[in-house]
Amino acid sequence: MTGIGIISPLGNSAAEVLGNATAGRSAICRIDEPWCKRLVSPLAACVKFSGDEHFDAPKLRMLDRVSQFAIVAARQALDDARFDFENANRQRVGVFLGTGMGGSQTTDDAYHTLYAEQSDRVKPFTILMGMTNAPAAWIGIEYELTGPNLTYSTACSSSAVSIGEAWMRLRNGDLDVAIAGGAEAPLSFGALKAWEALHTLAREDPFDASKSCKPFSKSRSGMVLGEGATIVVLEDWERAIRRGATIHGELIGYGVVTDASHITRPTVTGQAAAMRAGLQAAGCVPASIDTINAHGTGTQANDAVETAAIKQVFGADAYRIPISATKAIHGHLLGASGALEFALSLLAMQHDILLPTMHLEIAAEDCDLDYVPNCARHNVKFNTVMSNSFAFGGTNAVLVARSAQSAAVRCAEGN
């Protein structure tokens, strides 16, 4: 992985995001919109972002917020990778993007026009702004990339899937470079109400709204929606070395396994199977994993099931492996979460930091592992990280990566 671009509630650059994640600064807050009084808990993790700083007006008119995030994150990632388009075969560069809800703000606006205003004046760009593959398409257009341009929509695991699927294409030699990640902009009134109706959203913390999402805590009450995009540049190891790229880490495994049992209820079996599949693809034994970035949504169902699944896979090592759940502070970015957490995990590994799980005062009885509660750990050298992303619909995706230093050593040894 040679490039990272992040637009997120924790900041709009990799350095800023890592700094805030390390400090445990929560971006979750009460949102202030006229319709908020109709929400039970008007909470969200918003991105500080203005599209007109990044796009000229005629183009901006065609971009839902989700596409704006995706394009700007892709620009950052490609700048970070110092990607040389002059010498690239653009048909061997693919775009792989995950999003759960696509241009949901645009769709919400159109419904408002039709049903609230009782007007037939639906805007002409509604389809092209709302369609789920718009963010990926715009990235391809911006850089004239003629390789595969694919969008994955597997709810909350979408961008872990997109990165994993991109990695498989690279590993097969189908591509030279993949631009992969996820984008989500779900903070419209309609989307928030729909999530609220499912009873998955957190109650507001009575003392501090920013602490409302509490993964693995006894007092956890649900997730908080967030928005943003994370894009990474993946390329073959040898190619990256040849061109002298800065390597953030090496993706070495991807497991994807489906629950196929219930549309929302997670299963220990499915999550554990995905982790095992990720380990198998990486050629790793469980004990070789140094840290896990948990899916850790803060919902009753996920956190207990994920803890049990980690125990099933890692056995006694489960109690040794530090687990971070960063959704406590950046919220749940749905289809963009997997990519953000994967990138954050690699950035933390580069800087020898174990990221904290914030707002974890008393862990739940069935959540009894080391979640790095409330305070980051510094100067911890580690080489292998697992990033979990699970989803409504049951598509469980797991990414496994190792540090660039350890990858270099292993490559020199022929592994």
Partner: protein
């Protein structure tokens, strides 16, 4: 307000175009409004001038072409004293204020 000024106001407000770039013979594509952008511009024109355009796309390469087209519709509207439905399109839908 004359048609050119009203149209210019739409372009400045929605597309953030520098007013000094707006001339009658200037191609709209050079202002960043291609054939797809035209679909949206026509939507704004319908709202601003309270006319309904034909369902089929209209080719208006320059600002001057757009002005002539709108003036033609407005003139026809004055004759009939009812909202103009160009090209035999169905009755006008409710308009939202711009």
């Amino acid at each position: 307000m004359q048609t050119f000024e009203r149209l210019s106001k739409i372009l400045v407000k929605n597309y953030k175009i520098d007013p000094t770039r707006l001339t009658l013979d200037g191609p709209l594509e050079e202002l960043g409004i291609d054939s797809l952008g035209m679909a949206e511009l026509l939507f704004f024109i319908e709202d601003e001038f309270k006319v309904q355009l034909p369902f089929d796309p209209v080719a208006l390469p320059t600002l001057g072409d757009a002005v002539c087209y709108i003036d033609g519709l407005l003139a026809a509207q004055q004759v009939t004293e009812t909202p103009v439905i160009a090209g035999g399109a169905p009755p006008a839908a409710p308009h939202r204020p711009v």
